[in-house]
Every structure is written in C-alpha cells, then in structure tokens.
C-alpha cells in the first residue's frame, strides 16, 4: 500500500517533467497532474510496476473547467473561449488495495489526449463518453464514435458549459 505522495515521488523520478504537480490542498481526494501526451506511458508504468499494480480503472471522467474568457451574446447565452478541458482518472489496485487519482488538462480549442485503452480495456466506453460529451479527442483510440448521443448529432458537445440547444433536429423542434 502506497500513499499518493510516495507514488508521486516515484513518478517524478521516472518521468520528470511529464508529471507536473501533486495537489492536496482541497478536499477530499489528492490528485497528481500529468501531461496529456505521455499519459499512456505513465499509466502503463503504474499498472506494470511490481509495488504499484494499478490493475483496474474505476472511473474516467471528462470535466469542463470553464476557465477561459466568457462572452455573452444579446440573449444572455455564454460562449467560452480559451481555457482548458480536463480528465480525471480514478485507478486502484485490487491486489495491493490502494487508490490514486490522476488529472490531465488539455486546451479547449484543440483537446487532444492520448488513449489508455491499451492499458485498461474498460477505458474504451468511458473515453467515448468523454468524446461525446466534451469533444475531447483520444489519440490512438480504436473506435472513437459518439456513444450516448445520436451518431449524426452535429450541434456540439452537451456537457460543455457553453453548450446551446439547436433549434431543430431532423425537422423536429427542440425543445419539443
């Protein structure tokens, strides 16, 4: 069993600049911020290393940080420019019974993160959901399609904070 701090020191030693920061100031879970492009190598290390053995991905969750510049149009609808989108990874080891939270951030205009489906197969649908809801592109993902929204949905990504409903979808008025 290892604490987040011990794991952070291990990662820092191995990956250097790609492991950015350990955040512990806000309740409840501490998390490690990592670089979105070397993420898959870090995760592979976390899974394969003998005294870490993070063999299971509990949860993967996209988040809109909404920290860019906000502009309001004449009817009060917001548009956000710049800033970041984030992804949280909650992983655990079923053998050693420790847990860890990773966070990675990417730009809102070109949100690209490398996939972890090669490390944990269960990440597949979670990543498709994050793509569907936030438009985050997972590089090297085997099958990046929409999952919950209709395949032909072309009106943006619903969980972004500045999402606007379309007026019509396939000739039907929205909201009905």
């Amino acid at each position: 069993m290892k604490t987040a701090e011990e794991i952070y020191n291990l990662l820092k030693e191995k990956f250097g600049e790609s492991v950015i920061e350990l955040k512990t100031d806000k309740p409840v879970d501490p998390f490690i911020i990592v670089d979105p492009i070397t993420l898959d190598k870090i995760c592979l290390f976390l899974r394969n290393e003998n005294d870490l053995q993070f063999d299971s991905l509990m949860n993967l969750s996209g988040v809109d940080d909404a920290n860019g510049t906000k502009e309001k149009d004449d009817i009060g609808l917001e548009t956000i420019k710049g800033g970041t989108l984030s992804i949280f990874y909650h992983i655990e080891s079923t053998k050693l019974k420790h847990k860890l939270t990773l966070k990675t951030s990417t730009s809102r205009e070109k949100p690209e993160v490398v996939t972890v489906t090669d490390v944990w197969k269960g990440a597949d649908w979670h990543e498709r959901e994050a793509y569907d809801m936030y438009g985050i592109i997972f590089l090297n993902h085997p099958d990046l399609r929409r999952i919950l929204m209709p395949y032909d949905w072309e009106f943006g990504y619903p969980l972004r904070k500045d999402y606007k409903n379309p007026e019509f979808y396939q000739g039907m008025k929205v909201p009905y």
Binding site: P27, V28, D29, M58, K121, M149
Partner: protein, 371 residues
C-alpha cells in the same frame, strides 16, 4: 471441401423483450455462430449529468432514483455517502442502520427481478411469477416507509426524509421468515433444473483477468472467482459491524465465470443480505433521523470520488464542487455501463440463442447505462 459460408448482419432490438430495455445489438453472424457483437446504446439518454449541474445538491437525489430504477434506494445511498464525506457530516447511527436495511432489501428486490427475468428469458416462466410475488412484499415495505414503490427520494443528505413506520420491523421479520423457504423453492424450480443448467453452464465464460481489466464489478466479478465486495473491501456506512460472507463462483456446473455461476452468485447473495438485515434489526438504536440534515447544502470547494456496492456492482459518484449551491460536475460510474463493454467478448463463438442467456446473466439496467 468445406462449404463456403456468407456472413450476415442481424439487428436485435431496440425493441426486443430480452434486451431488458431499449438496447440494440448488431450481431455479425456466420450461420448461427456469433462472430462479433456491437452494442448500440443511448436510446434512454436523458443527460442526467447536465440536469444535475442545474440543480441544487438535494434536488439531484430524485434524478439518481431514475438511473437504476430497480435499485433506486442504493443510488440515493451512494450519492448521499459521497456528499456526506465531502461536507464531513456526522450522521446519527440510526440513520445508517435504516439505510443499510433499505439497501439490502433493495438488493434482494433487484436480484429477484434479475433471477426471475433470467428464467423467463431462457424459457422458464413460473420462477418469474414466484420472484415477483416475493418482490411485491419488499415493495410493500418501501411503500409503508415512504409512499413510493419504485422511486423513493427517501435517503437525504444527512439523514432520511422521515423515520420508519411502526409496523416496519415486524413486517420485515415476517418477510424474512417467509422468504427463506422460497429461496430453496427457487433452487429446486430453476437453479438445479437440468434444462436450465444445459442452457447456462459453460456459456459466456468470463475469465478473471479479463474481468478486472475491463473494470467489471459486483456479482459478475465475484462469479469469476474473486472475493471482492466494496462492503468489505472499501467499507462505508456501518457494514463493518455485520457478519456476512461474500459468495464467489466456483464453477460448480461448468467453468468458473459462466452464466450459471453469475446466476447462482445472486441467489447466494440474497441469503447474505437477509443475514445483514436480521443483524441490523436486532441492533438498531433509537434516535432522530432528521436531526443532521443541513438547512443549506453548500459543500466546500473540492472533488470526491465515492463508490458503493450497488446490486449490479461498483456504483461510483464523482462530484466536483466549486463552492456554490449547484454541483460543477456529477459523473456517475454506472456498473452496467462498464459491464456492457465486455459483452462482445463473452458472446464470440456462441449461438444466437446464447446471446439472450449471456445478456440476462450480466443483469443490465438500461436506465443506468444511458443515464
């Protein structure tokens, strides 16, 4: 010389009685053999997570009811545990005991639906009626507690909406006494039925390492032979005070992790739930169940991931608070959503009729997959 065969694509669903809701399976077939399955989900999508961002924290609870509509009590339970940990609320012990009793009753009710409909999927209709007869008793207990049979809004942040009915303990004891022989009856009727075993043993085998890599949890993981239960492995509420076993699949009728194991683990779990309820009823303390409910729910800035052992597996809530009255993000890690990913792996090489048997055995609820 082998005959040349042609591949065929067959759509199963979205409207199909054995897909347990609106799920479309795109089957790629070679004759009757499954080459690949592509599940298409999202027909019940309501974007719960977007709704949650527009609500205050207590207003989210009725929405959680509507995700896994067969285990509403447990969905509320998971959400309030997460909120109480984030806000550091100490709750009266009586509240915890009542929550555990409700949660375990809900687990039995949910498993009864799973087992009954599984029998019906495979062609045995009688067990279905027997299971629903017993489930009715549990729904009655919920009804006298909070007035609702399916969607309760009973467990609140910091407490419960109100105390249990004066008759509740007596009726629950009666239910336990009547229900025990019924489990035996179900075993005679379905579990050890020769036709049922032929249909389910050695079908859809899920090896343990695949299960862990895919993040499969709950009864499906335990059927593959792993003793893993969040009530013991990541304790929450007062589960540490009760004595109960974790049933695992042993490959009694075929290989470990086949459909029969997944079915039978659920049968055994009902008995364990009964044990927990009996102990909780004996030990339940007196107290006020509404005293710790905060007037205004305004958690500090931060984020939390909490998980509970839902009847279907690991139900996780990831909540980000920005210090205001509405959550900035609520993400639900739905057990069925994760389990559904492994489904194509289970089906490959089996017959079309086995798809129904495998889908029933992993016990999905589409309301939770699509949210």
């Amino acid at each position: 010389m082998a005959l040349k065969t042609e591949e065929m694509v067959l759509n199963m669903g979205p409207q199909h009685p054995s897909t347990h809701g609106v799920l479309r399976l795109e089957l790629q077939l070679d004759g009757e053999i499954i080459l690949n399955v592509t599940p298409h989900i999202g027909y019940l999508h309501r974007c719960f997570e977007k709704h949650a961002e527009a609500m205050s924290y207590p207003q989210v609870i009725p929405y959680t009811d509507r995700m896994d509509y067969l285990a509403s009590m447990y969905n509320e339970f998971g959400y309030v545990v997460a909120m109480e940990r984030l806000m550091k609320i100490e709750i009266p012990e009586r509240v915890d005991y009542i929550r555990v009793i409700m949660g375990e009753l809900q687990r039995i009710a949910s498993h009864l639906v799973a087992l009954g409909t599984y029998g019906a999927d495979i062609g045995a209709f009688t067990p279905f009626l027997f299971c629903f007869r017993d489930r009715e008793r549990i729904l009655h207990l919920f009804e006298i507690t909070c007035g609702a049979r399916l969607l309760y809004n009973y467990i609140w942040i910091g407490g419960l909406s109100h105390d249990i009915h004066p008759d509740f303990i007596r009726l629950t004891k009666e239910f336990i006494k009547d229900f025990r022989p019924n489990v035996k009856e179900l075993n005679e009727l379905l579990s050890y039925n020769r036709i049922f075993i032929e249909r389910t043993a050695n079908v859809g085998v899920l090896p343990l390492d695949t299960a862990i890599n895919y993040g499969v949890s709950g009864p499906n993981l335990r059927a593959s032979g792993m003793k893993w239960d969040l009530r013991k492995d990541d304790p929450y509420s007062v589960y540490h005070k009760f004595d109960f076993d974790i049933p695992v699949g042993k490959g009694e009728k075929g290989k470990t992790g086949d459909c029969w194991d997944r079915y039978y683990v659920r049968v055994l779990e009902m008995e364990e739930s009964l044990k927990i309820i009996e102990q909780a009823i004996e030990q339940i303390p007196e107290g006020d169940v509404t005293s710790a409910i905060p007037k205004r729910v305004k958690p500090p800035e931060g984020q939390i991931y909490t998980r509970v052992e839902n009847p279907r597996g690991e139900l996780g809530y990831f909540i980000i608070s920005d210090g205001s009255l509405n959550p900035a993000r609520v993400k639900v890690r739905a057990p069925s959503f994760v389990t559904m990913q492994v489904f194509p792996e289970l089906c490959k090489g089996f017959m079309v009729a086995d798809v129904v048997a495998i889908l029933g055995s992993i016990d999905i609820v589409l309301g939770e997959i699509d949210r």
